[in-house]
Each structure stands twice: as structure tokens, then as C-alpha cells.
């Protein structure tokens, strides 16, 4: 009986050891096979084949470029000075407002998550909304994150992407910026279906959106200027960055 149990243990140990050792062996094999010499051409596309590089068609490039120039002026001469003016308020105050605006979007985020077949995240977003609106004093504070309900914002553009709808084409929207036919449709619908906005007119919804944008701009550390000024062709740079960022959000 003792011998038998020892044999059993031994077999188990051996099996376990072999099983656990196997993946590392195959990893070693892959490494030996995949290791590249320094002089060999590094194939980025093969290396990033899991993620791939997202692209977007841009049939309206001429119009988009004109809008891009207009938005750049609007940003530098109107939006940015306003955002800088907001910096007279200490950062925690602006963070509070940022939380407040973010909280206003939570119901639509929950709906979007539900439409994406993610009831778990819908529950999280709804839970965040309830907790932050009450304990978090109308959303200025974010006790939900401390309670483990971490924000994973979803929008209707992402929802449509999950349903298999493509971008359509790239769109630079005046005073709004980079979007696509799909995503801007989603943005418009987001404002329309938000239960909190039902008694507001379009002007008021745009006002809230602008205020929200100004607050987050006041918290931003001049990201836009740095990349705009560093790029040979800022239009292409921002289009590429926007498409990649959206693709990443859809995947999450």
C-alpha cells in the first residue's frame, strides 16, 4: 500500500514536472527559432501581427484638411486660452468637475456596454453612477473607483464597431475634431439617448459638452501642441493616432 502510494506520488510529481516544464521548452524552441540577428531586417508587421495596424479610408481628405486647419486655429485662439483661464482653479477642483461630467455620461456608457453584450461592465458603470451620484456628491468625487468599480467607458461608436459596423470614412468635425461616419453618428446618438439630457435642448447639451471639453483640456499637459509641432504632416499624424486609439478602445 505504501509502495503503491509512493509510486502514485512519484508518477504525479513526474507528470507535473514534465507538464510544467513543457511550455518553457517550447518557448525556448521558439526563441531559438525566432531570435533575430542584429543585422537581419526587423519585420515589424510580423512582430505586431496580433494587433495589426488599423487604417481608415479618407475620401474627404481635402475638406477634412481644411476643417483640421480651422480646428487648429479655434483650439489655439479660443479653446486653449479658456482652458488656461480655468487653471486659476486648483487641480482638485478641476478634477472634481471632470469627474462630474464623466459621471453624466455613465448611464449611456452602461447602455452601450449592455448593447455590446457585456452586462458585467454595464453593472459596473451603473453601480459607479449610483454610488458617485449619491456618496460622491453628484459625481464630483469618485468613491466608486476606491470601492473597486473601475471605469471602463463604452460609447455607441464602440458598440456599432462590436456589431461589425466599420468606420465608413474619416471625418474631421468642426470644433469637435477627429471622428468617423460611424463614431460621429454614435456621438450624436449618445447625446440624444442620455436619460439625464432628456429635458435639455440641443444648445444646452452642446454647452455641457463644451464645458466638459474645456475642463479636460485644462487638466491636459499640452499634448496636442507637442505632437502637432513635432509632426511633419500633423494631419496624417493625428489621423493615424486617432484610428489606433479607437481600435484599442473597441478591443478592450
Amino acid at each position: 500500500m505504501n509502495l503503491k502510494s509512493h509510486l502514485q506520488t512519484l508518477t504525479l510529481v513526474t507528470l507535473t514536472a514534465v507538464t510544467l516544464a513543457l511550455p518553457s521548452h517550447s518557448a525556448l524552441g521558439a526563441e531559438a527559432g525566432g531570435a533575430q540577428g542584429q543585422d537581419e531586417f526587423f519585420d515589424f508587421d510580423a512582430a505586431s501581427k496580433d494587433s495589426g495596424t488599423p487604417t481608415i479610408s479618407d475620401p474627404l481628405e481635402k475638406l477634412n484638411r481644411a476643417t483640421f486647419v480651422f480646428n487648429d486655429k479655434a483650439y489655439r485662439y479660443v479653446m486653449k486660452p479658456v482652458a488656461k483661464g480655468l487653471r486659476v482653479f486648483p487641480e482638485p477642483v478641476r478634477t472634481g468637475f471632470s469627474n462630474f461630467f464623466s459621471n453624466l455620461g455613465a448611464p449611456v456608457s452602461a447602455i452601450s456596454a449592455l448593447l455590446q453584450g457585456d452586462p458585467r461592465n454595464a453593472g459596473t458603470e451603473l453601480g459607479r453612477f449610483v454610488l458617485n451620484t449619491t456618496v460622491g456628491l453628484l459625481g464630483f468625487l469618485d468613491p466608486a473607483t476606491d470601492a473597486g468599480l473601475v471605469q471602463d467607458e463604452e460609447d455607441l461608436g464602440q458598440t456599432m464597431a462590436r456589431w461589425g459596423v466599420g468606420h465608413g470614412f474619416y471625418l474631421v468635425v468642426p470644433l469637435y475634431g477627429s471622428s468617423s461616419l460611424r463614431d460621429f453618428t454614435g456621438t450624436l446618438a449618445t447625446g440624444a439617448i442620455n436619460p439625464l439630457f432628456q429635458n435639455l435642448d440641443t444648445g444646452e447639451v452642446i454647452g455641457i459638452t463644451a464645458a466638459s471639453a474645456e475642463v479636460s483640456l485644462s487638466l491636459d499637459k499640452d499634448t496636442y501642441e507637442a505632437f502637432y509641432d513635432g509632426a511633419i504632416d500633423p494631419y496624417v499624424f493625428f489621423r493615424s493616432a486617432w484610428v489606433q486609439n479607437r481600435a484599442g478602445k473597441v478591443k478592450q
Partner: protein
Amino acid sequence: MSIRFPSFARTRHLASVGRRLLLAFALLLPLAVAGLATAADADGPGAAVKVTVENILAILRKPGFKFETDRPAISAEVRKAFDDVAMAQSVLSTNWKMLNPDQQTEFKGLMLQTIESTYIGRIKAYTNETVQYRKEEVKGSLATVDTAIVTSSKEIPVNYKLRKRSDGWFVYDVEVENVSMVSTYRDSYRDIFAKEGIAGLLKQMKAKIAELETK
């Protein structure tokens, strides 16, 4: 009998406890060793990223830091950690092979200068935030190291892509909020290369760097 029975039972019991312990040990030991190996792997991709980020933060946070005078030190850290050849080849893709060795060297240098003048300024803006090291994933000779910059209002995911060379792990791409540095420069240079060739691209890169230096 009344003495032997319990003693026999105890032996059996002990044996079964011993067996379970042994089994648990057998199952857990390789995991523990693997965990130790990762944590202690000073030559791994995670360690490569962490050393560089911490060194740069140390420069930025030292008393009397001045961007103008300390920039060469930051630049040296970045250049030590980056695989400039892999990066340049990634940005130009197959067009890289159309360049002669002189053009390749020139492109590599200009690309590093462009990235530095854009990104070092960015690092400076985030000096006071915390960096969290989240995940290290190794697939053969390629690795991804996930980090996040945590600010008061949001978290910015910053993921590093590394490749293994005979002399260690080196970064060939950085993804900030899912935006790959390599992919963005690649998209930006593609049309210029197609229209004006490498001479036109190098000329525009030089002009841009000169413009950034005067700022």
C-alpha cells in the same frame, strides 16, 4: 489491538497528509521557481524598461534639474534602451531596403532626434506622476511590458515593445493609449516617401528638427 489500531490509523493519516503535502509541493514548486525567476530576472524585458524609466525619472526629479542642461543625460538613457535599427526598419518598412547605408544611418539619426524632441518634452510634463509596472509578456524573442502613468484624473497606459538581441532586451516601439509610435511615424512618412523619395523625406525631417530646436 486497542493500541495498535489508533497507531495504524495515525500512520495512515500521516501518510495521506504527507502525500497531499508532497503533491501540493510538487504542483507549486515549479510555479514558485518560475515566479522567482521572473521576479529576479534582472536581464528580462520588464527589468530593462524599469531601469530606464527609473533612471530618467531620477534625472527629472533631482534637485536643480534644468531641461536644457540635463537633456543629454536623458537622451543617453533613451538611446541605451532603444533598438534604433529595429525602430528605423519598422518605420520605413520594406522601403528601408531601398536606402544605401549612408541614408540608413542618416535616417536613423534624424528619426531618433525627432522622437526625442517630441517625447522627451512629454516625459517632462509627467515628472510628478507615478509609474506603475503592470505586466510582462514574453513570446520567443519578442516582449511587451505594460506600464501606466497614474495622474489625478486618469490613467495613461504606456506599453513598451521589446525584442531580444544577443546583448539583451531593447525597445523598438512605445504605445501610449494604444497609439504606437512606430505606426504613427510610419503612416506620417509613407506619403512623403512615395512622393519625394528618401531625399525629400530626409530634407523635411531636418527642417522640422531645426524648427523644434529653435523653440
